[in-house]
């Protein structure tokens, strides 16, 4: 039977059709895999390409120097922001209203860094540093502190070299002692403990409970409106954010938004990849259908003879479908093989950027592959049957 049905097979045409299908299937599956890998990696370390948090403040103008109060956010203004459709939650920065002096001790060579400082606090749920040490209650001498991640770099690459101090790791930094002196009506001392470095919030953070206690007991100034807000937003690439920033004259850490743009561009590229893969898949399905039609038309006479002998057109169609299934198996096994190799390379690449994800081909990719096999098979089966049925109905030729 094979001698008859595949008599006029053109291997080159078949190879071209199969390579086309392989390219399309691979692109489609690979873009799904990349999307899933990147999503998993980015969810695990959201901040790298821009988190869903945004710290905003008002742009400082010369006039503000004479009226610092104008930089604060009023209750109504905060409410307006809270009701924006892209805002999930608003956190208010609370500031210290007393004088703080901080000294870092325990540096190599018994050096000490002494500076006037300030504290701020935000509700815990806005923090990106998760630690069990982040708590303070009245009577505790030990106060946990989170420093901006940028401070570590500034110390290691700016302050340290200029003062002849060696660079310190994050871990070593956490071992240093931070002596805190609060000047209220009288001086009060606390032992600060650096518990982490924040990428998200660029300030010196202490627990909200400590800040409120200190303000209540040591404040030398009256409360003012908060000058910075932290927003939890649905998506940093939401166009409403840029509009709000411009209209209201707000300012933010630009890097965050840049990151979000990278994320958006990446997604657009992936969607484009997915789209091109989809187009190639559709074209390759059409090529396969056409190849099947050509194959059938080339053995038109032989098929008619078989039908006149009493061969069932559905059985002949199944023979063809059997060959199609073998070709599809070769295509999909090759695509999955390529995907494995690509996945290994992708994981290496992600590792370079300290992103990690589950190794191996995702279940969704397997499902997509299975779905594609079904689509290819169904469309080809339909086309082959239609062609043979048409032939069986017109045996005269």
């Amino acid at each position: 039977m094979r001698k008859v049905l595949l008599k006029s097979q053109r291997p080159l045409q078949l190879i071209v059709a199969m390579l086309g299908a392989l390219a399309g299937v691979f692109m489609l599956l690979f873009s799904i895999q990349v999307y899933l890998d990147l999503s998993a990696a980015l969810n695990a370390r959201e901040d790298l390409l821009g988190s869903d948090y945004l710290v905003i403040q008002k742009q400082v103008t010369t006039l503000d120097s004479f009226n610092p109060e104008s930089l604060g956010f009023g209750t109504n203004e905060i409410d307006d922001i809270r009701h924006m459709n892209f805002v999930e939650e608003v956190g208010v920065f609370e500031s210290s209203r007393f004088q703080v002096f901080a000294a870092i001790t325990g540096l190599p060579g018994s050096r000490e860094i002494y500076t006037e400082a300030y504290f701020e606090a935000v509700p815990d749920r806005f923090l990106d540093v998760v630690t069990g040490d982040w708590q303070w209650k009245e009577g505790d001498e030990r106060v946990p502190v989170i420093l901006p991640a940028a401070y570590l770099d500034a110390f290691n690459f700016g302050f340290g070299p200029s003062q002849g101090l060696p660079p310190l790791t994050e871990k070593a930094f956490k071992l240093l002692t931070l002596k805190i002196r609060i000047r209220g009506n009288s001086d009060v001392f606390f032992n600060g403990k650096i518990v982490g470095f924040s990428d998200r919030i660029n300030t010196i953070l202490v627990p909200l409970d400590f800040l409120r206690y200190s303000n209540l007991n040591f404040q030398t100034r009256q409360p003012t409106s908060p000058s910075r807000l932290i927003l939890a937003v649905t998506d940093l690439s939401h166009p409403g954010i840029a509009r709000m920033m411009e209209e209201k004259g707000y300012d933010t850490n630009q890097e965050n938004l840049k990151g979000s743009r990278v994320k958006t561009i990446l997604l657009v590229v992936l969607v484009l990849f997915l789209f091109i893969g989809g187009v190639i898949v559709v074209l390759s399905i059409l090529t396969f259908i056409q190849y099947g039609q050509i194959l059938i038309s080339r053995v038109n006479y032989e098929l008619r003879v078989l039908l006149l002998m009493g061969y069932d057109h559905t059985k002949l169609a199944n023979h063809y479908l059997g060959y199609v299934m073998i070709w599809l198996a070769i295509i999909f096994l090759s695509a999955i093989g390529l995907l494995y190799l690509a996945e290994i390379e992708l994981l290496k690449y992600l590792k370079e950027y300290e992103l990690s994800t589950q190794p191996g081909i995702s279940l969704y990719v397997w499902l997509a592959a299975f779905g594609l096999i079904l689509v290819y098979t169904a469309i080809n089966a339909w086309s082959i049957r239609i062609n043979l049925r048409r032939l069986a109905k017109n045996l005269q030729g």
Binding site: R304, L306, A392, Q396
Partner: protein
Amino acid sequence: MHIELNQALPLPMRDESFSPESLWKRSAILESGNDHLILAPSGTGKTSLLSFLFGMRNDYQGSILMDNKEVKTISIAEWALIRRERISIVMQDMRLIPTLTVEDNLNLKNNLKKMYRENDIRDMLSRLGLQEKWKQKAGTLSIGQQQRVSIVRSLLQPYELLMLDEPFSHIDEENIRLASELIVEQTRKKGANILMVSLGLDYNMKFNQQHRL
């Protein structure tokens, strides 16, 4: 197999005139249990009649019933079954696959019902003087040899009716005698009947009923 024709006429021939005795002009029953000879001058539609009775065409007016069923209404799946088990045919243009050997051509038919072993098939070929052609491509045989191969092929299945469309047109007398003997012998064994259309000769085969087109 009971076949009934009622004023059946191929559509392309509806403007042509036929004698009142012509099968195209009257009602006729081709009863089962009889061998039928249909004599027809060239161009009177004998191949068309067999095409209607074998499900290859249905462009006719009037009615053609096969076991009381209008042949136009028989589905392609039913036709496949009829061609495998109830009607076999030797066509005027043989319909062998030229690129395949005689062996492959015959096996394609025999494989459907696996009625005969290879030796039986080779015996039939030998009886028609084709024993040396087993491995030869059908396309390289003479027309007469191809006709004999297609006769053997038609016998490799169960049937109730064997339809022959000018089966001996390119065969010499001696081989006609051998082929008709083989046809009759195999048909009797199967308890079947023959329906032959011919320009005018009966090739010394015995027919119970004779018709004209």
